[in-house]
Symmetry: C2
DNA sequence: TCTTTAATCTGGTTTATACCAGATTAACAA
DNA sequence: TTGTTAATCTGGTATAAACCAGATTAAAGA
């Protein structure tokens, strides 16, 4: 019935969170402090922390320490509500930071999904979205350049949907979504201020106009511990 | 520009999979063999393997070794298609194994979701679902005992929806779904034949009848690397 | 007071070693 | 041939010790 030593540390920290000794955004003791406290090696303490991270209970900031995760943002991928609306509903504060915008050529994979030929001109917009100061979502947005000429002159800290509607009279009538858990490569991890290889939820979203053209193709990388997807649907 | 050593091993294995030297279900060299091959410590080799596991590219069988992950099963949570239908569509083979069935009392959390009072009689069915011999989904299904008397005498290797329809004339008109990435506790991990703490995708599904009663409440634990969710919807 | 600098703290990565327990396999006995 | 047993292989867990590179903080200088 004996359990591994790292499990003891895991349970101890979980308990501290349950009883409120540790609360949201609190900094945990450092790996070295924990290993002293439990008379274990640093690797064992780290093992426990990595376990809690996998469960989404704690997270780390690069070389700054380990912290208790905030509650997950509840998000309905089928809802037309914008990111900012969702955040306000849940009494959070949100910010959107454009990281880069460029006119480039569609990579083969992207071209295929968008129904374009490889190398077609596409705008690529990279944005970082934060909730309560914490980066939780990285977006790579591809837009057919022929569909929205001059797109890059707009302000991308706002809703893209709004820009499409207002300046190009284009709305979305259908969306295809694919999602799966994976992990972040070095560059994306760096953008989200997490360690390379951190787990994430990848969501690919393809939005179509009434004319069945692909208006945008989004690659979204969510912190795995920051979001909970919730949807409801009727059957016939 | 130098990268950590474990990254070199990660890249090497990824490349082997790309070029086909390693293919689906193949066994990888053991941790000790890899550490010899790359002149690294076993911990470094293991670090690389854990990284690949997080990405969903490889998986491990307890004390048996590391293997290349099969392609993900594509699954539409809004589709009325049964598990077996989905699997057949994708040219896979599936099996369903009931692990346990019992009549018990609703835990407070479950009772709340199902709109029952705590301790109400509920059936709890635990099933394991495999694709191509590999366990990928563990289900905990709660059913209001008053709604489906005598439920446990049926065969749960079949579709539950079918049982509800055939024997109780009950159909589902609405489903609420919640999903988020987390990790498995020791017991659930053991059922799925994976190591405790392995990452997973947890899906909670609540199905309602026309009378707005909760017919069943499912807790699903998917191997994080075994599934890809795909859905499509129209906007008005 | 403000800024620069140096010391210190934290996680990130790595080596070498060890022992355990389950899984597999080879050897052996019936 | 079959069943049992023992050796071996594999991952699972753990210790001790290092060094590195950002992040933070305290100290020193302007």
């Amino acid at each position: 019935m004996s359990q591994p030593q790292y499990k003891t540390i895991v349970d101890h920290i979980k308990n501290q969170i349950d009883v409120g000794t540790l609360t949201v955004q609190d900094k945990l003791p450092s790996e070295r402090q924990l290993s002293d406290q439990f008379d274990a090696s640093r690797i064992t303490a780290r093992e426990a922390l990595l376990q809690l991270e996998k469960e989404g209970i704690i997270y780390r900031l690069n070389r700054r320490g380990w912290f208790v995760s905030p509650t997950r943002l509840t998000y309905d991928p089928t809802s037309p509500a914008t990111f900012n609306e969702i955040i306000k509903q849940q009494q959070r504060t949100g910010t959107t930071t454009p990281l880069s915008t460029e006119l480039s050529e569609a990579p083969s994979e992207v071209a295929q999904v968008m129904g374009l030929s490889e190398g077609s001109p596409v705008y690529l917009i990279r944005r970082l979205r934060c909730v309560d100061e914490r980066p939780i979502l990285l977006e790579h947005i591809y837009v057919d350049a022929n569909l929205c000429p001059g797109l890059l002159k707009h302000d991308f800290s706002q809703s893209l949907t709004g820009i499409f509607k207002e300046h190009y009279q284009k709305g979305v009538t259908r969306t295809d979504v694919t999602m799966y858990p994976t992990s972040l490569d070095a560059e994306d991890a760096s953008s989200l201020h997490v360690s390379p290889g951190s787990p994430c939820l990848e969501i690919r979203r393809c939005r179509f106009t009434e004319e069945n053209q692909v208006l945008e193709y989004d690659l979204e990388f969510w912190r795995h511990d920051a979001v909970e997807l919730k949807l409801s649907f009727e059957h016939q």
